[in-house]
Amino acid sequence: MDLVLIFLSAAIVNNFVLSYFLGICPFLGVSNKIEKSVSMGAATTFVMVLAALATWLINNYILIPYNMGYLQYVSFIIVIASLVQFVEMFIRKASPALYRGLGIFLPLITTNCAILGLALFAALRQYNFIQTVVFAFAAGVGFTLALVIMAGIREELDRAPVPEAFKGAPITLIIAGLLALAFMGFAGLISG
């Protein structure tokens, strides 16, 4: 029950993109085609789970026992940067097509604050190992969900009569705002 709550909370109620406003860059950058947003979401989810695992280990076996909580931010960033490098090498080897498709947004996952935020939240809430993994996966699912919803709307938008002044970035930001408002409706559904 606990895990289900964590999952729903991270994926929907406290959606990283739409209620914490973390990871807005790929949310606006890779949300023009549904296919691309799905693979971006999958890559981010993958990195999120790996990063949460690694940061949990470092936090619980190095930082906390030796009282070095103040190193959380720096060490987490190192972990995430190295992990993304690793994932990039792996994808390049395993699936060159996916590597070309994701392009610049793959190394940019490094700077996706949703991932650092996730690691810090998990440390702050003192989740145990299983909880951290579920939390990270749920955050990734939430991120993918936001991206896919946005991409779906934007694909329809291409055919809509948008006023000249609102074309491009303005209408995208307005939609992002409306989506965030819609997700506020979930607030209070589950606390935590």
Partner: protein, 268 residues
């Protein structure tokens, strides 16, 4: 003070650890790229025009390196010079490939071809073509808004005063971009040394073609009959050059002279 030292030490250790992991991963997961791809890339013009059928020069370079031969592959803008360079990299002989160029198969200038309507829309061939196949009476005629000229990366095709696009043979590299950008599909690639063409694309019946344009092919088959060696052939109401090497001979010359609408044109 000790806090600073401990921090530096811990972070250093962590960084070292990840550096080692990444170095090992880099060795294990190294993608072996053919070094020849890079060399071929350098030999190619780097125009990314897409004339070879790949999205960019890199795609072609990869394919050539993979095949290890130039058979069926090649860089139209680069021509023989580039083919020789690539062959040197691969250590093979080139077979002289025939260089091609674009040609507009329409002579329906404003003076020659009749209009069916006046067009006042967006000034592109693609837009004009959407309105009942364009303002010209002939549905296979050059619309003269220069979609081909706009698409050409080499400034080698222009719409002449007469209203029909003309290829600048000196500048044309045979990349075929104009061929793809012509909505009427009347541009095609021909070998550079071909000097006789049927300058018409009309597949209308002879009587219709004759009414629409003074220099249309009316599929009378005179050229076919007058060149028993098969230099010309008429298919689908349109004559075409079947074998341009035979067009030099006497019989073909008679055929060209006999053409009632003079749509068979001798170039050069």
């Amino acid at each position: 003070m000790s806090i600073i030292l401990i921090s530096i030490f811990t972070m250093g250790l962590l960084a070292m650890f990840f550096a080692v992991v990444l170095v090992v991963a880099n060795q294990k997961l190294k993608v072996r790229e053919d070094p020849r791809v890079e060399e071929i890339m350098n030999a190619l013009p780097g125009l990314n025009c897409g004339g070879c059928g790949f999205p960019g020069c890199h795609g072609l370079a990869e394919k050539i390196a993979e095949h290890g031969s130039l058979e069926g592959l090649g860089c139209p803008p680069g021509g023989q010079a580039v083919a020789d360079k690539i062959a040197a990299i691969l250590g093979i002989e080139t077979s002289a490939s025939v260089k091609k160029r674009a040609e507009v198969f329409c002579a329906g200038t404003r003076a020659n071809a009749a209009d069916k309507a006046e067009y006042r829309g967006i000034k592109t061939c693609a837009a004009a073509r959407m309105v009942d196949c364009g303002p010209k009476a002939c549905n296979y005629g050059c619309l003269g808004f220069g979609d081909c000229a706009k698409a050409c990366p080499f400034d080698a095709i222009h719409v002449a005063e007469s209203g029909v696009a003309v290829v600048d043979i000196e500048k044309c590299t045979g990349c075929g971009i104009c061929v793809k950008n012509c909505p009427t599909r009347i541009i095609a690639l021909i070998p550079c040394d071909q000097d006789v063409i049927v300058k018409c694309s009309s597949k209308d019946k002879g009587a219709v073609s004759r009414k629409n344009c003074k220099v249309a092919c009316i599929a009378c088959k005179l050229c076919e009959k007058n060149s028993p060696d098969g230099a010309f052939v008429v298919t689908g109401n349109l004559a075409s050059v079947a074998d341009y090497k035979k067009c030099q001979q006497g019989a073909a010359n008679t055929a060209i002279e006999k053409c009632p609408t003079k749509c068979i044109v001798k170039l050069n």
